[in-house]
Chain length 292, copies 2
C-alpha cells in the first residue's frame, strides 16, 4: 500500500477506495473541546483529550468509510500541542487505510502558498495527508503551488467553489463577464487537471444543489467535497445532482451529526457504538439514494 | 502597558504606536528555511533555527518600527514545533512593546471561524497577538466571529480586500450589481466598525493604488495593511493614496527586502546591522514621502 500510494494519483486512489467501501461518506473530525464528552477530558491536557477523542472516532468508523476530514481549526486552537495531536491523528488514520483530507482552507500569495503546500502536500509534509482544502480568494497564482505540489506528489486539493453556509452567496455569486466566481473556480481547476480521474476537486456545499447541477451539466468531472448535509440544511434528495454520470464524484462530508450523536443525533449518551450507528445510518441512506 | 492593552482598542493603540515611533512600517517575518543564513541553522532543529532568526530580527529592528507581522505558513510548515516557535516569537515581540499581526488569512464557516478567532484573538489565544489577517471568500457570516471576537477583546482584524499579487484581479474584481468584491468587503468592514479610530482594517496591496484611492475617496477610514512595496512592484510614490486625510491609516509591510538584505537588498552578507540599515532606509524613505 505504501508503495502504491507513491505512484497512483489521489483521484485514482479515491475512486478505488470509494468503490471498495461502497460509499462516499467522509467523517469530519471537528474535535471542539466544548463538545467532547467529559470522559475524554481528564489527563494530559486538552490536546491529549482531542487526540484520544479522535482516535476513538477512528476506532468506531475506520472500517466503514473511505475518508476522514480533519478540521485544522480545532487542533490549531490548542497551539503547537494541538498541531502535534493533529499529526498523530492523521498518522493513525493513514495507518488504518483511510484517506485523510486536511480541512485548512489555506491560500496566500504564491511564495507563501508554496510554504503551505509543502507543509501539507510536499514530500516533507509535517503530517500524512492525502488532500487538503484551499481558498481561492487571492486568485489563480495563489492556488497554483497547491495544485502543482499536489499533482507532483500524488496528492489532492479541494478548492472552495461554493461553500455550504448562507454567506456563500455574498462573494461566490459575484460575476466576471456574467460568470459567477464559483464557476470560474471550477473551470480553472478543470483546465489544470484534465486526468480522466481528476485529483483536483472542488468544495460544493449540499445547500447549493443548483450550483452542483450547473457545474455537472457543463461537463465538470472533478470530485466534489460536499459539506452541509443535515444540520446546515442540505438534503440527500438532491445528491444525484452532485454526482458524475458514473455515479462517483461526490464525497459527502458530515461531522457533528456523526461524531457527537449525543448532542446532534438523538443518542442518549456518547459512545463509540452511537458514533458507529449514526455513521452506518448515514451510509445506508446515501446508498439507498444512489440506488433510487 | 499590560493593563492598558486590555482596555484600549486595537485601533487606538495602533494609531498611538505609529505616532510614537514616527513611522508606519511593518517588518514582516517570513522565516523561510531556504533563506535563513546558515549560522542560524545549527543546533536544536529547524524550529529552533526559525525562532533564533526571528529573535535576531526583533533585536535588530524592535525599537524602530511599531508593528511586526508573522507569516504563519513558515512556522506551520514545521508542524507543532514550528507553531510553538511562532508563539515564542510573538511573546518576545509583545514583551518588547511591538504590536503583533499574525498573517494567517484564515476563514471558514461560522462555527469553525469561531474556533480560529478564539485561537488567535480570544482571551485564551495560544499566542499573544494584536491582530490577524482574515480571508472573506466564504462571506459575511464566515468573518463575523473574527470581527466580533476582535472587538470584544480589543484586538484587530485585517480582512483581505485587494491583495498585492497579480492574481488579485481574478476574483477580487468580480462584481455584484456593478460593485467589485474588494469594495463590498471594505463597505462591510466599515459598517461593522464605525469607531472614529477603527480596529477592523483591510489588506490593500501597494500594487493597486487605484483601489486604495477609490476606497479612500468613498470615505473609508479603516487602516490598510499594505503589502507589495519593492519586490512585488508597488511604489512608495503612490503612498499618499493609501492614507487617510489625517496622514495615518496605511501600514506599510515589507518582509524579505528587510529581513534578508543579503539576498534581496544588496548587502554583502546577512547581519543584524544590515537588517537594521535596510529597515532604517525604508523608514527614511517613507517619512520623506509623507513630508512631500
Amino acid at each position: 500500500m505504501e508503495n502504491q500510494s507513491t505512484v497512483v494519483s489521489f483521484g485514482v486512489r479515491l475512486a478505488s477506495q470509494v468503490r471498495r467501501l461502497g460509499n462516499p461518506v467522509v467523517v469530519g473530525l471537528d474535535p471542539s473541546l466544548d463538545l467532547i464528552p467529559p470522559a475524554f477530558l481528564s489527563g494530559g491536557g486538552p490536546s491529549a483529550a482531542v487526540e484520544r477523542f479522535c482516535l476513538a472516532i477512528l476506532d468506531a468508523v475506520g472500517d466503514l468509510v473511505p475518508v476522514v476530514k480533519l478540521q485544522s481549526a480545532y487542533f490549531e486552537v490548542l497551539g503547537g500541542d494541538g498541531v502535534h495531536a493533529m499529526a498523530k491523528v492523521a498518522a493513525s488514520a493513514t495507518a488504518r487505510g483511510l484517506l485523510v483530507i486536511i480541512d485548512a482552507k489555506r491560500g496566500d500569495i504564491g511564495s507563501t502558498s508554496a510554504a503551505y503546500a509543502e507543509a501539507y502536500l510536499g514530500p516533507r509534509a509535517f503530517l500524512p495527508c492525502d488532500a487538503m482544502t484551499v481558498s481561492p480568494y487571492l486568485g489563480w497564482d495563489s492556488i497554483e503551488p497547491f495544485l502543482s505540489v499536489a499533482l507532483a506528489n500524488h496528492k489532492g486539493v479541494f478548492v472552495l467553489a461554493q461553500t455550504s453556509n448562507p454567506g456563500a452567496r455574498d462573494l461566490q455569486f459575484a460575476t466576471v463577464n456574467g460568470k459567477p466566481v464559483y464557476q470560474l473556480v471550477a473551470e480553472h481547476v478543470a483546465r489544470y487537471d484534465q486526468a480522466e480521474e481528476p485529483s483536483l476537486g472542488l468544495v460544493v456545499g449540499a445547500t447549493f444543489p443548483g450550483t452542483a447541477e450547473a457545474l455537472r451539466s457543463s461537463g465538470a468531472r472533478s470530485w466534489f467535497l460536499v459539506p452541509g448535509i443535515g444540520a446546515q440544511g442540505g438534503s440527500l434528495d438532491t445528491l444525484v445532482r452532485f454526482r458524475r454520470p458514473d455515479g462517483l464524484g461526490a464525497l459527502l462530508s458530515s461531522s457533528r451529526a456523526l461524531t457527537f450523536p449525543d448532542r446532534f443525533g438523538g443518542a442518549a449518551a456518547w459512545s463509540e457504538e452511537a458514533v458507529r450507528s449514526s455513521t452506518r445510518q448515514l451510509i445506508d441512506t446515501v446508498v439507498a439514494h444512489r440506488a433510487a
